[in-house]
Amino acid sequence: MTDVALGQVAGVPTQIGIGGIQVLFPEVSAYVGTIAALREAGFEMCVDLCAVDYLGHPGRTLPADVHAERFEVVVNLLSLSGRRRTRVRVQVPEAATSVPSLFDVYPGTEAMEREAFDLMGVRFDGHPDLSRILMPEEWEGHPLRKDYGSGRVPVQFKEAPGPR
């Protein structure tokens, strides 16, 4: 299924990004399968996972058969043995902002998925503890979304009691 030398996965559209890096664009349904195949191919570490809100910037360059959605989950994988990186970008529609969790493939994505959920509101199905990680528990909304205005939110904690 996987071309080890190139880090390509059959049936997944691919693009060459800046710096010659391989960027894969699987469907949400093929997301975990692609990552697991890449892990088999020697990408031992998931260094980074984040989400991007493309609201207001829909015309980005994508492979021909990839339909641009509002959200994107970006996963950066690293192969220590091959000294290479690869990137996986999944299009996540606004109507169903959820993707399967990578927790079973790379346990180290736990905190990063919580962060993406907290700040961008993308749900990760199968995550053991999907709750806010950086923002206060009772916070409303997801601050890194483009429709979440900055400077609009009133100052928090202003009614907190003074020094005890």
């Binding site: 984040c50 991007v52 360059t61 970006v74 736990e110 905190a111 409303e140």
Partner: protein, 454 residues
């Protein structure tokens, strides 16, 4: 802003009693009977549920251990050993730690969101405040990402100045770690020593950049200013002094029986666990994985200098200590080579698109004044695209992911903070250890909370 029913964030069902606030905030670590099995395993430090890896024996997790045998205590966020505002929830059996959950976010100021409001010219001032112990590395990572989007090649002197400042910053960061780690283990002498040496390096930063920390020195397009006159002598004095003093640390700590008893065999980690958790930097190298981005995937001009990658064996506190101590010596080695090889020439790229006109021309030319004004109000436009650039910071892989939509501000700025990811090893390192060692273990992970929370 139309938010659907998305507002409820507690996807994990929270038991009713947990809503009661403790004096430090909500209860975060639940009773065993009320915790999901996967989460229970995670809090117990079971990371390897991969089919081919060694799987944690479920009998070790004690799913049905009675709740009245253990005690859940809160440590932090205000605790001198947590290096900032890290809060840990610990489940204890006597003095033995069984489960750990770290609670972060007390220093969250939305710097990634702020980064979207700042132009690329201003961006370095933002990222430099994330990891306040190694600000120059964050700036380098940001600058390299922007330059990759622009497709610029830096003049050699700019590259070598970045390496020089980066290695000095690595020394100061590790010295700071030696100081606080000594403090956590009860050696106030080490704390004073570490701060003393670090101050020398920070004085050099002040001389070069104008500021001791948060320097905004390395910017897209080069560095802000050339090195000051006589910098070779300053750097030589720093190298000689710090190198001589690392041998004093050997006398003070490395060979000292008490120190070794507190660190050897404490907080062990295997290479498989480290890789599965995405751990990088000295913690990964302490497990025996020779992975250093300066060597493995060279950036700047690290392929032109000679240095050793320091690797440990057991992944315990002592390995992490000796790796950082020896990395100071390796950095001195690199700095001395940089002093010898420093090329002459421009310290920033002579590309009017990203470089403001020199001060002298602003007084003489109206066009230069307009150009300068536009550069610092509107910034420069960066072509559309996305890029991830990673460098080896003192704490591990520091990556910057930038999405550009062709304007002068990043569409999305994400920083892969090494401390944030490295914190996930705490349940593994603390499990089965003593509460009194927890302080030393947290210190050996070297988290910088400004970078964790961003």
């Amino acid at each position: 802003m139309s938010e659907p029913e998305d507002l409820d964030t507690h996807l994990v069902e929270r038991p009713e009693w947990s809503a009661t606030e403790t004096s430090e905030g909500t209860q975060e670590l639940f009773k065993r009977s009320e915790t999901d099995e996967a989460e229970l395993g995670r809090q117990s430090g079971a990371v390897l549920r991969l089919p081919e890896g060694p799987v944690l024996d479920p009998s070790q997790i004690d799913f049905d251990r009675p709740d009245d045998e253990t005690m859940i205590v809160n440590m932090g966020p205000q605790h001198p050993s947590t290096h900032g505002v890290l809060r840990l929830m610990l489940e204890l059996d006597g003095e033995v730690v069984l489960r750990t959950k770290s609670v972060i976010g007390y220093l969250h100021t939305g710097m990634e969101k702020t980064g979207e409001q700042l132009t690329y010219v201003q961006g370095a001032t933002n990222v430099t405040r994330m990891d306040y112990l190694s600000p120059l590395h964050a700036e380098t990572s940001f600058a390299l990402a922007v330059e990759a989007l622009l497709g610029l090649d830096m003049p050699p002197r700019a590259t070598w100045i970045r390496m020089l400042m980066g290695e000095l910053n690595r020394m100061s960061s590790h010295l700071m770690w030696m100081a606080t780690n000594g403090m956590d283990l009860g050696s106030t002498t080490m704390m004073i020593y570490g701060f003393r040496e670090r101050e020398m390096i920070l004085s050099f930063f002040e001389k070069t950049t104008g500021l001791r920390m948060n320097t905004n020195y390395i910017r897209p397009g080069g560095v802000a200013a050339d090195l000051p006159d006589g910098w070779e002598d300053d750097v030589a004095i720093i190298c000689d002094t710090v190198l001589a003093r690392t041998f004093e640390y050997d006398d003070l700590l490395t060979g000292q029986p008490l120190f070794r008893a507190r660190t050897e065999g404490v907080g062990g980690l295997t290479a498989e666990e480290a890789l599965a958790l995405g751990v990088t930097g000295p913690i990964l190298r302490s497990t025996g994985v020779p992975w250093d981005l300066r060597r493995s995937m060279p950036y700047l001009a690290y392929d032109e200098v000679d240095f050793d990658v320091v690797v440990g064996t057991y992944g315990d506190n002592f390995d992490r200590y000796s790796i950082r101590l020896n990395e100071i010596r390796e950095s001195i080695k690199i700095v001395r080579q940089i002093v010898e090889k420093m090329p002459s020439g421009d310290y920033r790229i002579q590309d009017p698109k990203v470089t403001p006109p020199p001060r002298g021309r602003i007084d003489a030319s109206m066009e230069a004044l307009i150009h300068h004004f536009k550069m610092f109000t509107e910034g420069f436009k960066v072509p559309e695209g996305e890029v991830y650039s990673a460098i080896e910071s003192p704490r591990g892989e520091l990556g910057t992911y930038i999405v550009s939509d062709g304007t002068s501000k990043p569409f999305r700025l994400h920083v892969r903070a090494p401390s944030f990811v490295n914190l996930q090893v705490l349940p593994v390192l603390l499990r089965g250890g003593l509460l009194s060692d927890a302080v030393a273990v947290i210190s050996s992970v070297d988290p910088v909370m400004g970078e964790v929370d961003r």
